[in-house]
Symmetry: C2
DNA sequence: TGTCAGTTCGCAACCGATGCGAATAAGGTG
DNA sequence: CACCTTATTCGCATCGGTTGCGAACTGACA
């Protein structure tokens, strides 16, 4: 995701308005590696801007996703997580604390595959489960 | 998942009862490679047993999952899919028709990984997106 | 056949997310 | 600066998928 100041320009040139709510979310998301949910962002936003609506958070998140500034990732059946890292990468989920960590996998595209007769893969997503450094102890 | 006759025994020895509803679902799931949703199974079941409840389908699916006879898999944000194949395998999802195909990936456990400092992976799941043989044309 | 724990099934509730629309505010224009 | 137009905010209703609850029912064993 681009920086807040760049996003201000990007929004204006698209005929979109730059509101305080949006600017706050730009700031909360920029360089954020936590993969927050809409609810988590709403909680953080509410602390700085009481009265902001969860609806507005959802709205802005889907605007940013549509503009390619965010990636939406989902695990299992829980709520969606939002990822300002739109580079090609994968994730490791800590089953203890729920942390989500960016992972870069070499050779993900040339995985030796068996069983897909004629299936043409366009993309692959890999999710590791396990325990993160903090939860694993050591 | 074991065969319907084996499941009858397994259920009885666990103090669980063998009802017509459960037996129907045993049959619908055995050797099923379609990865059906609860709703899809409910539709099939209703055709053979009008009046069966969606609630009962959910109930039986979660019983079977708890017994290790089924695996629950979810993609994106849609409904859960149920998989009688409990072997270690992965999936390919056709973005055109929605088909879900079993995939066996060699060397999935020794993927060259970068970025996870201290994360201890216990399992990995890989999901390919693309188009299936039928939808790809060729 | 009787007993009783396990099961079915309808309904309410739940969660995450989206549709709708009135009130509001951004931001360009005169 | 005042005004106008259009986008946005935000509360509320609604949605799809799933689970909780509990009264009525039924399988299984004695
Ligand atoms: Mn990420
Ligand atoms: Mn499968
Ligand atoms: Zn952890
Ligand atoms: Zn297809």
């Amino acid at each position: 995701m681009r920086s807040p100041v760049e996003l201000v320009d990007a929004f204006r040139t698209q005929g979109l308005k730059v509101t305080p709510q949006r600017q706050l979310l730009f700031r909360l998301l920029h360089d954020n590696t936590q993969h927050p949910t809409a609810d988590a962002l709403f909680a953080q936003a509410s602390a700085q801007m009481p009265g902001i609506s969860l609806r507005t958070v959802y709205q802005t998140l889907s605007d940013l996703t549509a503009m390619g500034e965010l990636q939406q990732v989902s695990f299992d059946t829980g709520p969606a997580h939002f990822d300002p890292n739109v580079a090609d990468h994968h994730h490791a989920v800590c089953d203890v604390c729920g942390a989500i960590i960016d992972v870069y996998v070499d050779g993900a595209d040339q995985l030796a595959i068996d069983g897909l007769d004629g299936f043409r893969p366009a993309s692959a997503s890999i999710v590791f489960h396990g325990s993160c450094a903090a939860c694993a102890g050591t």
